[in-house]
Symmetry: D2
Subunit: 349 residues, 4 copies
C-alpha cells in the first residue's frame, strides 16, 4: 500500500513534536509537509524547533522545510495543533480549500456540525461531517479530538454510560506541565507548587464530556444528560494527567461489574486494528496505589487510560483514579487515531 | 508570668521539629524536656535529630538530652507526635501517670471520650475530658488534633455548617511530602509522579470531619449528619496540602454569603487572643489562581486556611480550593493551639 | 534622620522584586519611584508585576505607579536591574542626567572607569567614579555589582588573596533557576535535568573575579594575576548558587589557616555597620555535607557566603564548596549594600 | 546457541532491577536464579521487589523465587549488586565456591588481583584474574566495574590518554538520585537542594580512574601517573551523572583533535560486536548546551558517554562536559558488558 502524504500545522510545538514522533514509521501515513508560525517559516525543522521529547528528533525531518500556515502545497490530510487563537481561522481556511483538518485545537470542538471524536467512544459521531459539508459548502472538513483532560474522563465513563448510565460525575485533575505547551509554565511558577486553576479548562471538560457521551440523532448531537463538574489543577509532572473521579450511575452496579465493563471495553479501533489503537483502551490495575504517572503513563504506548482504586464514594456512588498521557492519548495520538478511523471508514478517499 | 514547662514526645521527627521551632520564644510555654525513640535516647538533640526545617535548630535545644518515652521526669504538659504504632500505648501511659498529653497522633482521635479539637471549630468539645477522667480514672488526659488533611477541610466547612448546614462534601487532596514524615517518601517514588493513595488517610478525613462538626450532648459527640467523601493524593510539594472541595448546603446561600461567612469567622482563639491563633483563621483570596502553596502556605505564620476559587458546582452546589500548612496548622501548630486553649480555659491549672 | 528617596529601574523582574522587598522598612532609603518596560508603564505595581517571592508584595507598593525608564521625575539614587540589552543605554542616560545608578546589570561592569564592587572585597574601588566623572563629564555615575555567580567565588577568595595570594582557581557552579529571571526557564527544560551552559556566564565570572581582586592604582584597576576558569551549570534549585571550587595559593597555608582567614574576615560594611551588611560575610560550616541550599541559603538574611568541605585537592591545592543567595547577595542585596557603602562614604551627599 | 544461565545477587535493588531489565531477551544469557537480602528470600520477585523502573517488570520474573545469598543452586555466572557492606564476604564466598562473580560493588575493586574493567578502556586487565586464581586458589573469580561516577570520566579520558597522555584532571559531578539506590534519598533532603557530599565517592573516583587508565605489567596494574581530583555533588535528577571536567594533556593537541579522538574511539566491545556494546562509546555533541540529562542520557540505550562543550580552560588546558547513565553504563550495563567480554574472550568456558 502506498502511504498517504500528510502535513502538520503547528509542527514545532509540544503536540507538533509528538505528531512528528508518532508519524515516524507510521504504516499508513507519511509526513510530507509541515507548517508553523511566521517566525519559524522558511527555516528547516531542526533550526525552527526546540525539540523537547526524550526520543531524538527523527533524522528524516531535520532538513524538512517549515512552511507558513497557508493551504497551497499542503497535502489533503493535515494534523493541526495550533494555538486556539490562530486555529479558528487557519483551520477554516484549510477546510475551505479542500483539506481534511484533523485538529487538536479547542476552536471548533463544540460547534454543532463538527465531530468531537474519541474513536473508542463515539465513532458514529464522525458522520456529523455530512452536516458540516452540507451547511458550510466546504470541500474539506474539520474533525476534532477532545481536550487532554477530557479524554481520560470520557474514556473511563464510556463503558459505564453504555452499561449502567452515568448520572453525575465529579472530577479533580492533577495535570502535567506539558499540557501547557512550550515554553509553557515557568519553573518559578510550578516548582514546589500546585496551581489550582487552568483558564477555560473546567468548562471544556464539562461541555466536551457531555458531547462525547451524547447521541447522534437527526444529524445533530444530543448531549448526554449527566451532570459533570471539574476541578482542574496543575502539578509538577512532565506528562500524564491524573484524575480523581466520583460517579453516580443510573442503574445499580457492583464494583466487580464496573471493572468488568472497563476490561471488556473495546470498540471500532480495536476491531479494525487501527495502527495507533491500544489493544486495551482501558487498563484496570488493582494494586493499592495505582495508577501512577511514573509507572503507568506509557501503558499501551501512551494510548490507554489506566484506572485504579475503585471503591465506594460516600457522596456519589463510586470513586476511582484515572490516568492518561496528555500529549499522546490526549493530543497527538488522539488526532492520529481519529485520522486512522477516518481512513478505515472511507472518509479520506 | 512564669512560663509553664512542657515536653515533647517524638521530638526528632518532622512534627517534633516543628514543635521545637514553635516553642522557641513561646510566651506561655517553655520547652524543658524531650523524648524520642530508643535509638535517639541518651543523645543530645543535635546528635539525635536530622534537622530538616529551613530555619536553623534553636541553639537552646542543641544540648538538650533526648529521653526515653517514659513518664518519670516529664513535665505535666507533653506534646506528642509519635508514630501511631507506639503512640497508642505511650500516650495512655503518660495520661495514666497524670500528664496532659496534647497529641498529634491518630491513635486516640476517634475514641468517644477523647476530644478531637480545632479551637476555632469545636472548642466546647474539650469538655469531653470530663468523661475521659471519669471513665478511665486517669489523673492526666489525652486531647488530640485532627489529621493534617482534615484540618483545612473542617476549618473551611465550620462557618458553612454554622450558617447554612453542610449536607454533602467531596474533597480531593494534593498532599505535601512532609506529611509522610522523615525520611518519608523516597525521591524515586514521588519525583515526576502523583501517588493516588495514602494508607488510611481517606477514612481518617471522613470520620474526623464528622466528629469535628458534631455536637457535644450528654457527654458524648453526636457526629455531624453530612456525607463526606475524600480522595487523597500525594504530590511533589514540600509543605502545604491543597484541597479541591465540592459542597452542598442545607439552606440556600449565595457565593457572596459564603465568602462573608468565611471572612467573618472567628472564634475562641481569636477572642482570647491565644498566642498561636491566627488573626484570621480563614483567608479568602479572590484572584483567579489562588490559593497556591508557594504564595500562600505561610499566611498567618502557617496557621490560616486559605480559600479561593469559589464557584458553582454542577454536581453539588459550590466548589472551592482550600490550602493549609500540614505540619503547622495540620500538626504542631494545631496541638500548640489546643494547649493554649486548654490553658486559657483552666484545664492546665 | 530623614530617609533618602530612591527608585528602581526594572522593578517588576525577579531582582526588581527583591529590591522592593529589601527596601521595605529600610532604615536609610525609601522607595519613592519605580520604572519598568513599556508594557508595564502606566500600570500600578500590583497590576504590572507577577510577584514571585514567598513573602507577600508590600502593601505600600501595590498602588505605586510604574513609570517609563526615563529620568524625569526619578530620584537621585536609582537601583537598576534591567535586561542588559536595554540597560546599556538607559543607565547611561540616567547617569548623564545626574542620577547615581547602582546597577545589577552586566552592561558596564567591565568598563575601566566603572566600579565593580563588593563592599567587603574592594571598597576602595569606589574611588574609580572620580575617573568616570572626569572622563565622561557626567553629573551622575554608574556603580555596579558582580554577576550572581561571581559573588560567592570572589567573596571566598578575597581573604585567601589577602592572606596567601591566589594563583589559580577552578570553579564549577550549580546555579538556581531564579538567576535566569522571570519567566526564565521553562519547566520542561530544567525538570529532571542539568543544563551545562549559561550564555556568557563563564566569561563574566572569569573576568569579573580578576577585576574584583585587582588593585586600584593611578585611577585604574590592575586585575589580579590569578588564572580563573569557570564551568557554569543550571540545576533545579529555586534560589542559591552552589560552587565547587579548587584553588592554588602563592604562599603555603594549612586548612586551619584558611578557615581562620574566612572566619576572621570582615571589612568596611561590618565596621560601619551598614544596615544590609551581614555580621559574618563568610560563614564556615564544618559538617560533612554543608553548605546545602535548603539549609544554608538564608544565612545572614541571604547576605553571607557559606563555605564548607575544605579539603586537599590533588590537582590544585585545596578544594571547598561555597554557596550564596543569587538574588540577594548576588543581585539586589549586593546593589543595596553598594548604595549603603556609597552613602556611608559620602558619595550620595 | 543455547543461552548461558545466569544469576543476580541483590536482584531487588535499583541496580538489580536494571540487571533484570537488561537480561530480558538477552541473546547470550538467561536469567535463571536470583537472590537478595534475608527479608526478601523465600518470596516471589513480584512480592519482594518494589519495582521502580519506567518499563514494567518482565512477566517472566514475577514468579521467580528470591533465594538467600548463598552459592548452592546458583549458576556459574552471577551478577552482583549487593551493598558493599555485605558484598565483601558474599562475593568471596561465591568465588571460592567456583562462581564467576561479575560485580558492581566497590568492595573488591581496588584489590591488586581483581580486574576493574571497562571493556572499551582496559580489556586487557581481565587477564588479572590469572593472578587472582593463582594467589587465592579459587575455582571462581571476581571481576568488577567502576563506580557510576568514574565511568563517564574514565571513558572520556581513555582516548585522550591513548593519543596525548593525561597529566591532570579535575572533575565536578552532578549526580542523579538513583545512584543512591532505593529507598535512597528522602525527598525532603534533595528537593530544591544540592548536596555537596557523597560519602567515599571522591576517593573512589580518584583511585579507580588511575587504576582503569593504568598498565598491566608483570601480572600487576601500574596506575596511571595522572593527578585526579573530584568534587561530587548530588542534584535532583533521576538517572544520569553530569560531569564538568578540566584536563591537562602531556602532548599538544587541538580541540579538533580531541573531538576526533573521541569520535574515532572504538575498542574490543565494538570490534567483537558484544550485544550490549554501544556502536559509539563516546558521542560528541557540538551544540551550545549539550549534553543534557533529559535529552542525552539514553543515547545508545544508555551505554554511551555523551560529551560536549569542549573549550579551552584557563587553569588546565581543556574543559568539557560528560554525561553517562549511572544505573546502565555506570552499573548494570557495565557489568553485563564485562560478562559479555569475558564470554567472548573465553573466560566463561
Amino acid at each position: 500500500m502506498k502511504k498517504m502524504e500528510v502535513g502538520i500545522l503547528g509542527a514545532t510545538g509540544m503536540v507538533g513534536q509528538r505528531f512528528v514522533s508518532l508519524l515516524e514509521n507510521h504504516p499508513w501515513f507519511k509526513l510530507a509537509w509541515m507548517a508553523a508560525s511566521d517566525k519559524s517559516a522558511g527555516k528547516s525543522y531542526a533550526e525552527a524547533c526546540q525539540w523537547r521529547l526524550r526520543s531524538p528528533m527523527p533524522d528524516a525531518v531535520r532538513t524538512m522545510l517549515v512552511n507558513e500556515c497557508k493551504p497551497p502545497g499542503a497535502p489533503q490530510l493535515v494534523f493541526a495543533s495550533l494555538d486556539s487563537k490562530v486555529a479558528t481561522d487557519v483551520e477554516k481556511q484549510f477546510a475551505r480549500a479542500g483539506h481534511v483538518v484533523v485538529s487538536n485545537s479547542s476552536s471548533h470542538r463544540m460547534e454543532p456540525d463538527v465531530p468531537l471524536l474519541i474513536p473508542e467512544v463515539n465513532p458514529d459521531h464522525l458522520a456529523l461531517v455530512r452536516a458540516q459539508r452540507r451547511e458550510r459548502a466546504w470541500q474539506g472538513m474539520i474533525v476534532t479530538n477532545p481536550n487532554c483532560t477530557t479524554v481520560g474522563l470520557a474514556m473511563s465513563l464510556a463503558p459505564l454510560e453504555a452499561a449502567f448510565g452515568v448520572e453525575k460525575v465529579l472530577m479533580t485533575s492533577m495535570q502535567a506541565v506539558s499540557g501547557a505547551g512550550y515554553p509553557g509554565l515557568p519553573t518559578l511558577d510550578i516548582f514546589g507548587n500546585v496551581i489550582p486553576y487552568i483558564a477555560g479548562e473546567e468548562e471544556k471538560v464539562e461541555a466536551e464530556t457531555k458531547k462525547l457521551l451524547g447521541k447522534l440523532a437527526g444529524g445533530r448531537i444530543q448531549p448526554a444528560a449527566c451532570a459533570v463538574s471539574a476541578h482542574c489543577n496543575r502539578v509538577l509532572v512532565e506528562d500524564g494527567h491524573t484524575e480523581s473521579i466520583s460517579v453516580s450511575l443510573r442503574r445499580r452496579a457492583t464494583e466487580r461489574e464496573l471493572i468488568e465493563a472497563w476490561r471488556a471495553y473495546h470498540s471500532v479501533p480495536q476491531e479494525k486494528q487501527l495502527p495507533t489503537a491500544p489493544a486495551h483502551p482501558l487498563v484496570v490495575r488493582e494494586e493499592a496505589a495505582r495508577p501512577q504517572v511514573k509507572l503507568d503513563v506509557s501503558t499501551e504506548r501512551g494510548m490507554a487510560t489506566v484506572i485504579g482504586r475503585l471503591r465506594p464514594c460516600a457522596v456519589l456512588q463510586f470513586k476511582y483514579t484515572a490516568l492518561s498521557h496528555n500529549t499522546i492519548r490526549g493530543a497527538a495520538g488522539a488526532a492520529l487515531l481519529n485520522a486512522e478511523l477516518m481512513k478505515a471508514e472511507g472518509y479520506l478517499d
